[in-house]
């Protein structure tokens, strides 16, 4: 573990791009938005770093669609994401670039490399950042704490900082950048890593109906028991082109298939109407549905975090409320 030696307060803010199979993840654009605002506060500039065996095309794509200076870091043998390799390479490059901050996603990959890199760089780790602010002494970072029921306002010590950005918190601008970026190539030697990637498996049977549905009715732990799923199905049955979904705990319990899971490790949906039933609103779930056009949330917990992003909030027991709603719908028909 080597110490980060060179870094400066107004060195570049380095975005670590997310990409897979030659495709740039749309999240990278959001990371660049957070990085740009950070860079403005530090009077510095944004650099996008892309790590992998074959990176030139992804780098061109990033330069064209996001802009900024793009560093294509070619690493022989690095075929996909590898946490240990990312940490070793970044711990080497970040000080040589004199970076003031490194920005990744608060995703399953970002959460794998970023805290470890912070140890190597003796850097402050800021996890799941949702907003930026500043006071007289410098920058402040806002993130969700206490089950998403409060925002933590965090002050880091001196740079460098390692930041992971909450997906959805810094929406990317539509269209192409005014000034396309330029690509610079870096060649790294291959990394000897102890952890070995054996395989990468694509989602087997994601419910396509889910991402195409116009109405999604989702059940969380708050539905209490699997028998109550019938209420969720009946509620979904009120709408045409609807689908039933669930939060991760409900899928873990086997009440719904993993193909029906909405959230960080499941599907990302943005239907016309999303009805959340008994879901607390942890960020791992809400990143998958916060873009819905209209959100109705039903929960017995009046302080549930889900209410902070709902259009209509109903504090009630699901097993009483959904039958009452179904009853009203039936009356309207007759």
């Amino acid at each position: 573990v080597n110490a980060g030696s060179a870094h400066s307060e107004n060195g570049p803010v380095v975005v670590v791009a997310e990409h897979r199979d030659g495709q740039l993840s749309p999240l990278t654009n959001e990371l660049a938005v957070c990085a740009q605002r950070t860079a403005e506060m530090l009077s510095s500039e944004v650099v996008i770093a892309i790590l992998g065996e074959q990176v030139s095309e992804v780098a061109q794509e990033a330069a064209r669609t996001i802009g900024h200076k793009v560093y294509a870091v070619k690493v022989p043998g690095l075929k996909g994401f590898h946490g240990e390799a990312y940490v070793k390479i970044l711990a080497d490059l970040i000080p040589s670039w004199g970076a003031s901050a490194v920005v990744g996603g608060h995703t399953t990959s970002g959460m794998d490399w970023a805290p470890a890199l912070a140890v190597d760089l003796h850097a402050t780790y800021l996890a799941g950042v949702e907003a930026l602010d500043e006071d007289a002494d410098g920058m402040l970072f806002s993130r969700a704490g206490l089950f998403g029921k409060a925002q933590e306002i965090i002050k880091p010590k001196a740079n460098p900082w390692v930041i992971t950005v909450a997906p959805g918190a810094f929406p990317a601008p539509a269209g192409l950048p005014e000034h396309p970026g330029s690509v610079e190539l870096f060649e790294e030697t291959s990394q000897k890593c102890r952890a070995k990637v054996i395989a990468y498996k694509s989602a087997a049977d994601q419910d396509l109906g889910l991402t195409q549905a116009q109405v999604v009715v989702a059940g969380g732990r708050g539905i209490g028991k699997p028998e109550n799923l019938e209420l969720i199905h009946r509620l979904a049955g009120l709408f045409s082109r609807s689908a039933v979904a669930g939060s991760r705990p409900v899928c873990d319990l086997g009440w719904l298939d993993y193909g029906s899971q909405v959230g960080l490790t499941g599907a990302m949906v943005s239907p016309k109407l999303y009805i959340s039933c008994g879901i607390s609103g942890a960020r791992q779930h809400t990143v998958g549905m916060r873009g819905s056009d209209f959100i109705v949330a039903i929960s017995s917990d009046p302080a549930a975090a889900i209410f902070n992003l709902a259009d209509v909030c109903i504090v009630d027991d699901l097993t009483a409320f959904i039958p009452a709603l179904l009853d009203q719908a039936e009356r309207a028909v007759h």
Partner: protein
């Protein structure tokens, strides 16, 4: 019966408030309302269950549960013993001492170095803070390989390596092989954590859990601190419907019709 070398597992646990606990924010600080109930972090429970399943398959395994927290957090260690951990250890912090992830990882690293553990298991994140930082930091401080967000784990026949499945975005999975010693953070899975056996729980309640008080001077300077807590902004209208259950149902029907959603 096959003979394996003994595997030593360390499971790191954190006490968290019950998710529905009520609190007030006063001058940027949290004041919990009574009764204030706590529990073992739910993903930490999955981490312990993962360890117990390894022990089921390799009986020659010892599991030590460790937590870092105030005196009042010893309850989760009793529960861990009740679930089947062999030993428990408590690194005691002061009541109001809210340590940042690097301090927690450093204190755990000091402890883990003494124990020569083959495998360290943590929850993928705590459900209250949702940072997921301690696991990878601890691995890096100990200079051992790691994998995060693991939903299934297989130990090799000779107990020299493990194969893990990481859950990544969009329901995709990455499969990794790691040599021991290593650290793995555990995501939830269909393997629901077992309930403690009543007899074991009674026995565990009587157990004297070894502890030491954390010397804050031995920790690295905190790289960041929480200035204050704020009430979250509402990203949307967030209209709360009022009235009886039926009245609320009538109102929701009207809203859905008005928006041509029904």
């Amino acid at each position: 019966l096959k003979e394996w070398r003994q595997m030593r597992l360390l499971v790191c646990l954190k006490q968290v408030p019950e998710p529905e606990s009520l609190f007030d924010l006063e001058q940027g600080r949290v004041i919990w309302r009574r009764p204030f109930r706590t529990r073992m972090g739910s993903l930490d429970e999955f981490a312990l269950e993962t360890g117990l399943r390894i022990k089921d398959a390799f009986p020659n395994t010892t599991i030590q549960a460790v937590t870092l927290g105030p005196i009042s957090s010893s309850g989760i260690l009793h529960r861990a013993l009740g679930m089947g951990a062999d030993q428990a250890f408590h690194i005691v912090t002061e009541d109001e001492q809210d340590l940042r992830p690097l301090a927690v990882a450093s204190a755990l690293a000091d402890w883990a170095r003494e124990g020569a553990f083959d495998l360290i298991l943590c929850g993928a994140m705590s459900e209250d803070a949702m940072q997921g930082a301690v696991g990878p930091m601890l691995a890096r401080l100990l200079d051992i390989p790691w994998a995060t967000a693991v939903s299934s784990l297989e130990t090799s026949q000779d107990a020299s390596s493990i194969e893990v499945t990481r859950e990544v975005e969009g329901g995709n999975r990455q499969i990794l092989e790691l040599p021991l010693p290593c650290l793995v953070t555990i995501q939830s899975s269909p393997f629901q954590p077992r309930y403690p056996a009543l007899s074991k729980l009674l026995e565990a309640k009587k157990a004297d859990i070894p502890a030491y008080v954390l010397d804050a001077r031995s920790l690295p300077a905190e790289p960041e601190h929480i200035v204050r807590l704020e009430v979250p902004n509402r990203s949307r209208a967030g209209v709360f419907l009022e009235g009886s259950t039926i009245e609320k149902a009538v109102q929701l029907m009207a809203i859905l019709r008005q928006r041509a959603l029904l």
